[in-house]
Amino acid sequence: MNILVCIKQVPDSNKVEVDPITGVLKRNGVESKMNPYDLYAIETALRIRQEMGGTISAITMGPPQAAGVIKEAFAMGVDNGVLISDRKFGGADVLATSYTISQGIKMLGDFDIILCGKQTTDGDTAQVGAEISEWLNIPCVSNVSKIVEIKNEDIVVEIDMTHDIEITKIQFPCLLTVDKDIFMPRLPSYLKKQEAKNREIKIISLADLEDKDERNYGLNGSPTQVERIFPPEVNAHREIWNGTPTELTNRLLNKIKELKFI
């Protein structure tokens, strides 16, 4: 079975702010890590391989240092990994990102199952997975909370639709985005981590892709444009309360009574 996992490097905290005067993003000293939701996708891939055999590849898109998440994937037990990276991919929105990744996937060969996490913690859009499936013209289901059965031709999964659970069969090749908690992600193995240290990560650039037309990538291939960024509005009707804990508690109690919640 050929399994692919799409992963992303994200900032390690959300302490990214915009300077209200200059409008410049302040990201100094922000470390990077693997998008936590991707760990569940990797674990799902490892469980499928355990049951069905086969190989797991990981693909990521980002700056050169994003290769770090491929190494993390190796340390968890993923077999192969590539980084799609090119300055010409800069400024990509969901459409351009999903297109670029789908082009990278086409280069790697055919997969039975492509797995994605439910969303990233930096963009929080949960859209890239479904758009990749469209570019590859394969069926896709989201919110997969459990794997019921895997066969050679298809997979049966549980999908959480909030008010009910759907048991759904999807033919291969397909793309699944998995929910948090589908499986508990394993910790990276020390031995595999050591092995991964010196492993070369293959980098795919625009020149390697089937479609080399610059207009389809990065900012140029993005229908949405960020017009401006700004700090969130400060609530104009706020009251700041300072004082001793007793004073604050009394004021709070009175306010809750005044609002008629007690």
């Binding site: 994200v10 990214v16 915009v18 200059t22 409008g23 410049v24 993003l25 302040k26 990201r27 936590p36 700056p63 240092q65 300055r87 800069g90 400024g91 929105d93 969901v94 459409l95 913690t121 929080d124 890239v128 479904a130 394969i138 049966v156 639709m161 008010h163 009910d164 759907e166 048991i167 759904t168 069969k169 033919q171 207009r215 140029n220 229908p223 949405t224 960020v226 017009e227 960024i229 700004f230 700090p231 969130p232 509005e233 400060v234 609530n235 009707h237 009251e239 309360w241 300072n242 004082g243 804990p245 604050l248 508690t249 009394n250 709070l252 109690l253 809750i256 009574k257 609002l259 919640f261």
Partner: protein
Amino acid sequence: MAKLVINQGEVGNIQDLISLCSFGAMEEKNGELIINAACKMCKICVKKGPKGAVEYIEDAKVTIDKSLWKGIVVYVDHIDGVIHPVTYELIGKAKELALKINHPVYAIMIGSNITKQSHELLHYDVDKVFVYDHEKLERFKMEPYTAAFEDFVNNVKPTAILMGATPVGRQLAPRLAARVKTGLTADCTILDINENTDLVQIRPAFGGNIMAQILTPNHRPQMATVRYKVMDAPKKNQVEKGEIINCDISSDKLNSKVDVIDIIAKEKEQFIEASEVLVVAGRGIKKEEDLQMVQELADLLGGQLACTRPISEAGWLEAKRQVGLSGRTVRPKLIITCGVSGSVQFAAGMNNSDHIIAINKDENAPIFKTAHYCLVGDLYEIVPNLINQIKVSKGALENEL
């Protein structure tokens, strides 16, 4: 085509430009400044760098004729004909936007045996309801629903599509956006529209305390998803107004490689969205057992316990209790946050609540920008104290009766 070009002669101190870039996309190579693949094309180097050092060069674009695209359409989100209330909230918003540009408001409903339900929409002031009713569309599946929606887009050419960020909307919207090759902005918190019909989409961005204003300037339709309880629902009219249009689509376009084998109803859960009072535990809660204190306060106020991402990631509470962009959007009458710092992602999930009370030790915590009443103090001193006082005052009340 757009690109950034560096004029090495104008760069001056290379380190200044390197530190100006928020994404670490500038580096020095052989004494020259280069841009690497971390570039997000934010153009800050062009705007704030030494004049002429980095230039943004853009060829003339082929522009589309926006007047060919008319109408704001709302996707009728439903499962088995039960319409999700986010649909009405979006119709209210669509109405407001359409008025500004003098466009009609449409609804599109895709399903099986939905004639009766489609009439429900005529009570909400839509001009036309387009209905795709086919047995193959009985349960939501991405491929056939996308095919029906694509058919609608090609025939009607709406300028904008609004969809609820529900389990269905979050799957259908991206698949459709890639199909018709247009932009999609997820989880918008504010929507407006320019005179030239460009939809102004505002949402939190860059994984930080930042909002982004996003346009889709040269593509139609424009697509946005919005979460439940972000916009206001309009009132229901007594009489039906508007027109139902039944749309045909050939059956072979509605095939799918996905089979729904079974549907299992979940036990009726108490969702935090349904609660009028929420007490939220944040990272300021030091130990798992301290959640009991927050739970007790919620119980005393007749409300529910909710939490932030770190608490749910630590496994202390279930993901369904999490408020924010990766959790639920809530709009209770009263929300009390305890030890919540208040990232934009969190705030976007609760800032429409009627009364927001925040308790945090750090007077600079971002939550104080969102809250109405900002208590600068230690939750471990205030919350137990408050619990006692509520008990006392409730006791006093009971004694009086």
